[in-house]
Subunit: 353 residues, 2 copies
């Protein structure tokens, strides 16, 4: 593949490296800096409007006085079956959660399949059955769909797109741009499970066979949190993990974020697998967790409420929003140091969702 | 590929052939009988609900008293650039039209890209620019999106999913199940242009280089028709063409449909290319045409109104809904005969949209 990386200092310009790719690379789908660059240099300039410009994981708009949320995600995970889930369950929960992160109750989902010629009918049936169960669990209806088939070798078994419509029933404004200095940073549980489950399966790491994907629908948890109040931002830290999500919030809200490494919940099995593979759990994808930025007055009550709920039993405060340094995420390490948690340039784990 | 075709007569059952495939074949994406079988034997039993069961090209539901339409389509057309359009313009107009066919004003679209590693950035930019222009023409906003990248050889340059939300502003109920005996069948213009444009490009048929895709947004036309009234069904005859659309309407409405071959508008260039390639224009895809089933009292006024509008200038009545024979589409041929226009079993033109 032909690609060019130009350091802007060579051009006598600002000291931020510019990348210029003349072809798409895997990193453009990573959720990191290359993804952001593609969005900022190509998609936003073309499609610019007040909804898209917010760069949240869902659009929120009014229709006749009702506040609706609308979102889409395609799922290209490989393998399509993995410990704790499959591409179908992921596709339902992913869109349910993107709606929930705006405070919307997920109502209706669309499902569009791109099937590769030769896909086993039995595998498709397993995926469809899994989607039915996931939709029932999340209390959403799959109301419209589409199926395309591509020639063998022009796809990879199955890709699934789900889009969703939800209703925001409370007078809340939840957005990545809502964080304020002093707010607390909450995670809803152990991080990195989904990414390491996929990678263990893909790499046949049988020594870590107890790691399962955390894929789960999170609206019930969000509803419990909204009852307490003080919720400024909600995000599900999928591609790029908690580190990428916190960077996005810091940038959109023009704040800094300080994280206490010792407070970040990581299972021993996940930590062990990450160490062997040279990965940082902060960058590993989750599919059943959320990051919340919460008014400090409400934070303890929000965590207490979350801990009473199925998908929030291990919730905790992991950090604080600070006024400076602007747009940086800092990690206070176990050994007393501080390091910047930056966006990754490229792909850590391709095709994780 | 392993597949089994069982003729039910061999089992002593009804004389309708049953297919049983243990793997997905291209025909499952054709919009014909195999697509219908996949929907009826796998997707409907799994996801059954009042919205999906209507089997229209969009779901219609109430949110706080507003009637919304919601639809999705993935686009896998090859080649991605063709005379008269490209995959991006198709992806915008396809979803705009699926909304419009319920009488809904298209409002908001989502866009999800699945990009193959190695796609030229310049090609992506052309597609994005085309989507911007198409969205402006259709007066919809692209408000939320997603980008995934798959490894080289696991996709085919670019697949695009669009989902859309529209608002039904008039007290109309338009559905494939709404046709009544006596209603008139209207098409909005020349049929088969899109499919033959793609095929000419794909097969390098330079002698038919004047055939261009008809891809166009149809809500303005629909709005004009709704002003006249009497609209019972609307469908855009995409995959499987007018023949497949009429069969679906006949089945859902439990009526027969008689078409007058001489009245069906087909360009000479399209007819010529179809003859050379052994295709029937009735089965060839359109992307800027609609089929309407209209109250006979209103039909002439509807056609007259359509002819004043950009995308309806060649509108005409091509047939009539009849009480019997039930669920069959009959064609009165130019030479005075009558033949059944059945659903195709398999794929006539794969990856046409």
């Amino acid at each position: 593949m032909s690609e060019q990386i130009i350091d802007a200092t060579m051009l006598g310009a600002c000291p931020v490296p510019l990348t210029r790719h003349d072809r798409i690379v895997l990193g453009h789908g990573s959720g990191g800096k290359l993804s952001a660059e593609l969005i900022e240099t190509m998609f936003l300039p073309a499609f610019r409007n007040e909804y898209l410009d917010r760069l949240d994981d869902q659009a929120v708009f009014d229709v006749n006085g009702s506040r609706l949320a609308f979102t889409t995600d395609s799922f290209v995970v490989t393998p399509i079956f993995f410990p704790g889930g499959d591409i179908g369950r992921l596709a339902v929960n992913g869109t349910v959660n993107d709606l929930a992160m705006s405070g919307a109750r997920p109502l209706y989902l669309s499902v569009a399949f791109i099937l590769e010629e030769g896909l086993l009918m039995g595998e498709l049936q397993r995926i469809v059955d899994s989607m039915r169960a996931a939709a029932a669990e999340a209390r959403v209806l799959l109301v419209t769909g589409d199926t395309k088939v591509v020639n063998r070798g022009k796809g990879d078994k199955i890709f699934i797109n789900t889009a969703g419509v939800g209703l925001i029933e409370r007078p809340v404004t939840i957005s990545a741009s809502g964080a304020k200095a002093g707010d607390k940073v909450i995670v809803s549980g152990y991080i990195g499970d989904h990414g390491m489950a996929i990678l263990s399966q893909r790499e046949n790491l049988t020594f870590e066979s107890d790691i399962e994907s955390d894929t789960a629908p999170l609206y019930d948890l969000v509803e419990g949190m909204l009852e307490i109040g003080g919720i400024h931002c909600l995000r599900d830290p999928t591609r790029g993990g908690v580190a990428t999500t916190l960077n996005e919030i810091a940038q959109r809200s023009k704040v800094g974020i300080e994280i206490d490494e010792a407070a970040v919940p990581v299972r021993e099995s996940v930590r062990g697998a990450c160490e062997i593979l040279g990965l940082d759990p902060l960058y590993v994808a989750n599919e059943g967790k959320l990051v919340a930025i919460v008014d400090p007055v409400k934070a303890d009550a929000v965590v207490a409420k979350m801990r009473t709920m199925k998908h929030g039993a291990d919730a905790r405060v992991i950090g604080t929003v600070v006024a400076s340094p602007l747009t940086l995420v800092l990690l206070k390490t176990d050994i007393g140091g501080t390091r910047v948690v930056d966006l990754l340039w490229n792909e850590q784990l391709p095709r994780i969702c």
